[in-house]
């Protein structure tokens, strides 16, 4: 128990609770307006997506372009249950169903395709994501291309809690023996196997955890943003998530968080440029990557301790 309350964990706990209280306060005081509230909601969903993909791509080194498919399953499970049962009950039942479906699907994809490497894996997973979407597009219960129009049942608190839980799971996972195994697969699969690590097993575990968390993101999206349709879950969505991950720094969870925040606000800021928006966004992506090729944080994590170190160093220097 004592060990759990070490300094770093305490800082993060404070940061989460403090962050929540602060955002809540600013929202109810109206200092964060409706637009920015929506931006924050989008960012939270993107954070969950990004860290779940980061676990697969950044930590385990498996290039997957099918993440939108898992999000799609999560969104539709929650959406259909919201329609059938309604309310938060329906929503949570939907999440559970989504997780079950995704776990099964992830296993079905992972076991044969994770033998593939690099771009071959990317294409196989992309194809898989598209297959999910096409199935959803052709089902009755999902209402086909028209999609589902849904009531908003999710609030900021639910979003925040899911985000924190997702972060905890992913971060704790990466800092355990299993996470180290995944990282070693990314670094050198042959050496990793020679060190006694069942690489297939850990790839599958990472893939399944990623898929499950992605399904939360889908559900939260459905419960928060009024409408879902298959057109939202094409491979371009997978690529959007990939952009967040790479931009933040592959393998860096705090990087993904910061990147989702930065890109979310850049996007929101660009809205006032009306139809120049996408042009500027494209240029911005190029520029950012050219100047920071390994992403905002590289593979490093943002650490309070290093911040303090830097801070105290500066102080010392100034004294």
């Amino acid at each position: 128990m004592k060990k759990m309350l070490n300094k770093a964990n305490l800082y993060w706990l404070l940061f989460c609770v403090g962050g929540y209280a602060l955002l809540m306060g600013l929202m109810s005081a109206g200092i964060i307006d409706a637009v920015n509230q929506t931006v924050i909601q989008t960012i939270i969903v993107n954070i969950i997506l990004a860290i779940s993909l980061n676990l697969i791509i950044g930590i385990t080194g498996q290039f997957s372009l099918g993440h939108a498919g898992f999000m799609c399953v999560g969104a539709y499970s929650a959406g259909v249950m919201l329609k059938q049962i309604g309310g938060l009950n329906g929503f949570f039942i939907g999440i559970l169903i989504g997780m079950v479906i995704n776990a099964v699907l992830a296993l079905i994809v992972a076991i044969p395709t994770l033998r593939l490497k690099g771009d071959y894996l990317a294409i196989a997973t992309l194809g898989f994501g598209e297959i999910i979407r096409i199935i959803v597009l052709n089902m009755d219960i999902t209402n086909g291309a028209a999609g589902l129009v849904l009531p908003r049942v999710v609030d900021f608190t639910i979003l925040f809690v899911f985000m924190v839980v997702a972060l905890l799971i992913v971060v704790n996972f990466t800092r355990s023996a299993a996470g180290r195994a995944c990282i070693s697969i990314r670094e050198d699969e042959i050496a990793s196997e020679a060190m006694g690590i069942n690489t297939t097993k850990y790839k599958v575990i990472a893939f399944v955890i990623g898929a499950l968390i992605a399904s939360w993101a889908g559900a939260l999206y459905a419960g928060n943003f009024y409408v879902i349709n298959p057109g939202m879950f094409t491979y371009s969505k997978s690529i959007d998530i990939l952009v967040i991950v790479v931009f933040g720094g592959m393998g860096s969870m705090t990087g993904s968080v910061i990147s989702a925040v930065v890109l979310g606000f850049i996007n929101s800021f660009l809205q006032s440029f009306s139809n120049m928006r996408m042009i500027i966004y494209g240029l911005a992506l190029v520029m950012i990557m050219v100047f920071r090729p390994s992403g905002l944080l590289g593979t490093r994590e943002f650490k309070f301790s290093s911040l303090f170190k830097r801070f105290t160093k500066k102080k010392e220097a100034s004294q």
Binding site: I131, L242, M278, V290, P293
Partner: protein
């Protein structure tokens, strides 16, 4: 049975288009291992360059295609210098993100400059229809098919048999060692991009003529299909890209020709996955286990 063969022809001509785009794509990939997501958009711009040349300069088919190829080559080189070169020592996935940025920029930029609407491509090639044994083949289909094969052969020749092709391959395996041989690595990569992009330009014009319709987002779908075709055939392998393109085209045609149009993409993906599981390096790829 006639219908089946007709569908085969339909598929082959659709596949030729995927193949045409995939050729340039796979070549660039083969040399610098970059997934050039903007390749489809260069193809789109190729179509627009051809369109503008025909509409405003009133040129015919061949000048139009040459103009388009030249402009696309320049564009490809410029993009490479600005967006990809600074990332040569970064991870491949970082370069992929810039490629996506370039793609957004080209798409939105073209929407801005040329308008968002579909343009009808001027018909500068006549299109005679041949009926052979009950099968319908158009002159344009033959054009596209033959162009694809010829370009594949030319590319293969350039990469495998010429000095510049050897330099390209040398750069792709070890750029520092290539430098020690006196190879100008930057120039070699630029030439690779120029050739790949010029091919995309040619594809753009041919497709414009074939379907008589172009729009700023026309590169998205074929771009991704070309990527799939390239992977399917064994990425970096030039004939592989062609076969991959043919395969996808024929698959789509047969599936939708026999009532499965709703699921045509799903079927293509399923076959793709199955084949990759059996042959993890693609159809023509050699499954070399890394030597340790």
């Amino acid at each position: 049975m006639t219908v089946f063969f007709q569908q085969l022809i339909n598929g082959l001509s659709l596949g030729s288009i995927y193949a045409l785009i995939a050729l340039g794509y796979t070549m660039v990939y083969g040399i610098i291992k970059l997934i050039n997501f903007a390749h489809g958009d260069i193809y789109m711009l190729g179509a627009y360059f051809g369109f503008l040349a025909i509409t405003y300069l009133h040129v015919g088919f061949f000048p139009a295609i040459l103009i388009s190829m030249a402009l696309c080559a320049i564009l490809g080189v410029v993009i490479e210098r600005i967006a990809y070169k600074p990332l040569r020592n970064a991870t491949r996935i970082a370069a992929l993100i810039t490629a996506i940025g370039v793609s957004y920029f080209l798409e939105a930029g073209t929407q801005q400059v040329m308008g968002t609407s579909v343009r009808a491509f001027p018909q500068v090639l006549n299109n005679q229809v041949f009926n052979i044994a009950g099968l319908r083949i158009t002159e344009q289909q033959i054009y596209i098919f033959v162009t694809t094969i010829v370009l594949m052969l030319i590319l293969q020749f350039i990469v495998k048999k010429t000095k510049i092709g050897r330099a390209m391959r040398a750069v792709s395996t070890d750029s520092d060692a290539a430098r020690l041989m006196g190879i100008n690595v930057d120039a070699t990569i630029s030439i690779t991009f120029a050739i790949g992009s010029a091919l995309a330009g040619a594809a753009g014009v041919l497709v414009g003529i074939y379907y008589s319709s172009i729009n700023p987002l026309m590169g998205m779908l074929p771009g991704i299909k070309a990527f799939i075709a390239a992977v399917f055939g064994g990425i970096g392998i030039i004939p592989g890209a062609m076969f991959g393109g043919f395969f996808i085209g024929i698959c789509e045609a047969i599936v939708s020709g026999y009532g499965g149009s709703l699921f045509k993409d799903a079927v293509v993906y399923i076959i793709l996955i199955v084949i990759l599981v059996i042959k993890p390096a693609g159809l023509l790829g050699k499954n070399v286990k890394e030597k340790v």
